[in-house]
């Protein structure tokens, strides 16, 4: 499409993305603000990734990642999070289309898969602490529990938030501001998946070699 034909369709006051056309609609502002928050969350995680990268070989004579990590579990965790993210997206889609049944169905999958991830992670943590490989054992394990634990804490708060959102849909229905919050939740859930890709690669796949 050439420039002149764009000008035909778009009024001058609606210039996009460059401050023209006055204030953007609320949903744009809200989602953009939430996007900025997510980016700041990535920066929070980057500090922990940096700490882990610097400390991953400081095992102080304790167990190494190679001895501790069970990649089969990690693969199941990854698949759980990935499918949870997928169903969360489908849920947001169902919300936009006002399909209540589809929304609840995908909500159940999102919640159960996210909870399954947490259960596997908690049992992994408990097993490690039980073997004397708790966060106080070595700098490597401190960094490991901080990074993976913070991600797990995000998933936990995400699940609580999601349960709250489903209750809002049940009580209030698909009102615009409820849909807006659902959109923010699905952004949050996808962003956690992105953080998990970093954890999976740096901590588990590279760390278990």
């Amino acid at each position: 499409m050439s420039l002149t034909s764009v000008a035909d369709f778009v009024p001058a006051e609606a210039a996009r993305g460059r401050g023209g056309g006055g204030p953007a609609p609320t949903r744009i502002v809200v989602a953009y603000g939430f996007w900025i928050f997510l980016l700041s969350d990535f920066i929070l995680f980057s500090g922990m990734f940096a700490a882990y990268a610097a400390l991953s070989d400081k095992t102080a004579g304790g167990p190494t990642g190679r001895e501790l990590f069970d990649l089969r579990n990690v693969f199941i965790e990854t698949v759980c999070l990935l499918f949870s993210s997928y169903t969360a997206g489908l849920g947001a889609l169902a919300g936009e289309r006002r399909r209540v049944d589809q929304f609840y169905l995908s909500a159940v999958f999102t919640f159960v898969l996210g909870a399954a991830f947490l259960v596997i992670e908690c049992s992994e943590f408990a097993g490690m602490v039980g073997r004397g490989a708790g966060p106080s054992r070595s700098a490597f394990l401190s960094a490991f529990f901080t990074l993976v634990g913070t991600h797990g804490a995000h998933v936990t708060s995400g699940l609580l938030w999601f349960a709250y959102m489903v209750a809002q849909v049940a009580v209030k229905g698909f009102r615009p501001h409820v849909l807006q919050r659902l959109l923010c939740f699905s952004l949050f859930w996808h962003a956690l998946d992105i953080v998990w890709i970093g954890v999976l690669t740096l901590v588990y796949l590279i760390g278990a070699r």
Partner: protein, 125 residues
């Protein structure tokens, strides 16, 4: 121009879709398929000797970046259109900070490790 069309004139935000509804489902599904493919590839690369051993870590990082790209495009619906300028700029700035924090820390700590004098580890206190 009325109703929903108003939205098309304004900025877009991450996570908001404007395509046909049926295309949306397939966007997510295609993203899921690609993400699974890349995840399986990561595990295969990590656990076999398919790649030259010293290059495995780099290969895994490349696969991770590919997967992050898949998530951004298919799940967060980031695009390259003019209505995504703000989101992409914010993302670029965030990635810059993330890169500086991680690469800078690793670089500095590696330097300190190299230059640190041997410490007497077993001195009685």
């Amino acid at each position: 121009m009325d109703g929903d069309d108003v939205y098309h004139l304004h900025d877009r935000t991450p996570g908001v879709r404007h395509e046909e509804p049926t295309a949306d489902f397939w966007t997510y599904t295609a993203g899921l398929g690609l993400a699974i493919l890349l995840t399986v590839a990561s595990f295969v690369v990590a656990q076999t000797n398919l790649l030259w051993a010293p290059g495995i870590a780099m290969g895994l990082i490349v696969l991770a970046f590919a997967q992050i790209g898949v998530h951004l495009v298919f799940f967060l619906h980031m695009g390259s259109g003019p209505d995504h300028t703000n989101n992409i700029l914010a993302l670029a700035f965030g990635m810059l900070i993330v890169f500086l924090v991680i690469a800078g820390s690793v670089w500095i700590i590696a330097n300190l490790n190299t230059n640190m004098m041997a410490m007497p580890m077993n001195t009685p206190r």
